[in-house]
């Protein structure tokens, strides 16, 4: 488990977030800082107090949150943005693939999928260009 002082990459690459942890992280990030009670009051996450408390404590211990004492409770602050977590999660997945026994095979699947995605994107962009060209021709025709 990463310590709260660990670097961003150490934290995220060591231990990815589960679905509830992701939800709680996003809720705290959107507020800037939050206590367990504030997250419950926001009503964006429908879980029991003890569940949220445990999740926030776990996120702190994993190094995703920092916290300060506020009365009897803790106030938590997210150390990284959801976008940064997404990026590192993707990096983690790709590194995992590349470390495996069949890395070159996985890489060829990956390149294939990216190629298909690129082709689709290019098709969509070309359709957009052609539509705008047609609109422009139409406008020119109307003016004449």
């Amino acid at each position: 488990m990463a310590s709260p002082d660990s670097s961003f990459e150490d934290v995220v690459l060591a231990d990815p977030l589960g679905p509830l942890e992701r939800q709680v992280h996003r809720a705290v990030w959107q507020r800037g800082s939050a206590t367990v009670r504030e997250i419950i009051q926001d009503r964006t996450i429908w879980q029991r107090y003890s569940t949220i408390l445990t999740t926030m404590d776990r996120l702190f211990r994993k190094g995703f949150f920092s916290r300060v004492q506020e009365g009897k409770a803790f106030r938590y602050v997210a150390r990284f943005s959801p976008e940064e977590l997404e990026r590192l999660a993707a990096v983690r997945g790709i590194r995992h693939l590349l470390k495996s026994e069949h890395a070159s095979l996985h890489l060829s699947y990956f390149v294939g999928v990216v190629g298909e995605h690129d082709e689709k994107l290019l098709d969509e962009l070309q359709a957009l260009v052609e539509r705008q060209r047609a609109e422009l021709r139409l406008k020119k025709g109307e003016r004449k």
Binding site: L121, L122, L125, Q126
Partner: protein, 311 residues
């Protein structure tokens, strides 16, 4: 003779200290700016290029115009340099040597690639003022080659894939690189090596492509032609990367999808922000005038600074 050698030695040491300090500062500022803007705020190519070579130009100017004359005029004739001065001077020579060798290596690889691709020379009409070069053997679609007299090189594949209008606007993209002296800028970047600058260099390359897109397009029709050209060429079989000292239409560091999206939302730019350089020139002239009128005091200050920084 010995005094002249000492002047060069101390000036080189001074250059090393100033160049490394300024470059580190630039790298830190860029890192912080990147974290803040998260790639969302577009930055102008001129600004990024200025930031990239700022440390090299400024340390060079300060060394030649101030450190060297101040040593010559104000230093005693006794030899009192320590070992640190020699180490710093060696650092400066390493930086300069690395810069020169990078430029020579890039120039050689560019020339070698061009010799492979070049077929013949032919003129392209329709708005292109300089003759263009035709190329084949798997050359990149369109690239601008040459440093002092750059010319556009068009591959036979690009010439056959693009319509006349698309080819014309694609060539104008390359002429945009020519007007901005982008190949010369690449030489200057190669000549001023420093670690941790690759992020800034990539950002400049992307911004230079977008600036060349903007320079090529003057109407919505042309924006759509350029977008169509980019899509057609990105579907072409895998092309070799552009040589180090050339500027290609399909630059590896800039995503085609982003450029096409930008062109699809093209709007005519307002006149206000286009010409910033006259103001920069006025500021530069004012600064030069001020320093020239206090040149003696500046030399004394530089001399004190040299004694402080160089052991």
């Amino acid at each position: 003779m010995i005094f002249a050698a000492r002047a060069v030695l101390v000036s080189l040491a001074f250059f090393a200290v100033v160049y490394c300090s300024l470059s580190t500062l630039v790298a830190l500022v860029w890192g912080a700016a990147e974290r803040l803007r998260k790639g969302l705020i577009p930055l102008s190519a001129s600004l990024l290029f200025g930031l990239r070579i700022f440390s090299f130009v400024l340390s060079g100017v300060i060394t030649v115009c101030f450190a060297l004359p101040s040593f010559w005029l104000m230093e005693r004739a006794t030899f009192d340099e320590e070992g640190g001065t020699f180490i710093l001077a060696a650092c400066a020579l390493t930086v300069i040597g690395a810069g020169v060798s990078r430029v020579l290596r890039d120039q050689s690889s560019t020339t070698h690639a061009l010799q492979e691709w070049l077929l013949r020379t032919w003129s392209v009409e329709s708005g292109v003022t300089k003759p263009a070069l035709g190329a084949a053997n798997g050359a990149p679609a369109l690239i601008l080659v040459g440093i002092t007299r750059p010319r556009v090189m068009i591959s036979d594949a690009a010439a056959s894939a693009l319509s006349d209008d698309e080819l014309q606007v694609a060539v104008r993209h390359e002429l945009g690189h020519r007007r901005s002296w982008d190949n010369l800028k690449k030489v200057l970047i190669s000549a001023s090596p420093f670690p941790w600058m690759s992020g800034l260099e990539n950002a400049w390359r992307v911004a230079a492509e977008l600036a060349a897109d903007d320079a090529a397009v003057e109407s919505r029709q042309e924006a759509l032609d350029l977008a169509a050209a980019l899509i057609k060429l990105s579907r072409a079989p895998k092309q070799p990367p552009e040589p180090a000292l050339a500027s290609g239409l399909m630059c590896a560091s800039s995503a085609v999808a982003v450029r096409v999206q930008r062109l699809l939302h093209w709007r005519a730019a307002g006149p206000g922000m286009r010409r910033m350089w006259p103001w920069a020139l006025v500021v530069l002239l004012a600064m030069t005038g001020t320093i020239a009128s206090h040149y003696g005091a500046t030399l004394a200050l530089t001399h004190r600074l040299t004694e402080l920084l160089v052991p």
